[in-house]
Symmetry: C2
Subunit: 220 residues, 2 copies
Amino acid sequence: MFDAYGTLFDVHSVIALCEQLWPGKGAALSQLWRAKQLEYTWQRSLMRRYEDFARVTEAGLLYACLALRLPLDEERRRSLMSAYLRLSPFPEVREVLATFKASKLKLAILSNGSPAMLRPLVAAAGLGGLIRTIISVDARKIYKPAPAVYRLAVERLRAPKTSIGFVSSNCWDACGAKSFGFRTFWINRTGAPVDELGATPDHVIGSLAELPALIRRPLS
Amino acid sequence: MFDAYGTLFDVHSVIALCEQLWPGKGAALSQLWRAKQLEYTWQRSLMRRYEDFARVTEAGLLYACLALRLPLDEERRRSLMSAYLRLSPFPEVREVLATFKASKLKLAILSNGSPAMLRPLVAAAGLGGLIRTIISVDARKIYKPAPAVYRLAVERLRAPKTSIGFVSSNCWDACGAKSFGFRTFWINRTGAPVDELGATPDHVIGSLAELPALIRRPLS
């Protein structure tokens, strides 16, 4: 089971469009946009004011543009939000998913994204034939790393949690999944330290390409 | 009722010591330390793995030093954690609190900090005679902006929530308190945009010095 944003799909693939709209500001905008998007998921979950990930993503964009003093008109807002439906998958994703599919592992996505964001994203990347089970936190109206989210996946997959391997590039997500009881794989693409959250990922790897060697057969 | 960290006390007053320990890195360390400290409060609350604020603050420091490749030995760790018990109050704090106290308003602190962190902090700043009621989220084992925290304050103060004014420099904290039902004052020291969290602070001011003009008598 894979996280989507940052794990299968590169959230910073929006930098190119950001850069085109505001030359020299693309990377800064993308970083702040992503940071606020995540903060809002945690804060809204704690406040019990859940809004779906499209709304939270747009709120993060609005905040980031205001903070960086980048004028966001309706057309730019729409084109950036639409870019979020066409994020690039990381280069190794297709081959790794194809390898797992060939070995009869059941593949799934567990993501903060709403179904309306995830389906076009998977389709645009041409991954629909490889990964069909898409589980969205939207069914529980709370965001990761709340245990309710990981529990939802157990219910949907109808499998014991110890038989589920969860892969995320977001360390706090891998820690949350580990705390819940999954076997976890943290994709540490940037050489960051492990987060200090009282639960540590079982495996730390540099990209999805290292996964098949760790999982040669169904986990059960 | 006042938030403590960032509102009455300048969390970045540790920069001087950080800078002394690692010249040229003080500001970056202080920023990342604070950012991770806050992230951990949200993530641990959602994970239901509460640890007190001293532990979370130390975890943020460890992460930040690892990420910035700053060697943190036992002596440095202790001296930085101890600096967190002696953060500088913002320059206007004493006078504003004295003004309110003279006008018979009941003053309180509502903070993520544990009692063992808050008491020495208030005492070291010489504010113990001005603000005696210190309410810590530690009694509820969850962090801001969870409604349980703001509800705790209502219980401790034995006052209706509409009679409580809450002051924070952390916009998400002011939004959380507003969402709960307090009259809220956001101290926006840096000219940041309002967070997009579905609840907006009632007042936005540049420093505590603007508060007395807004609150001339007990709110009730």
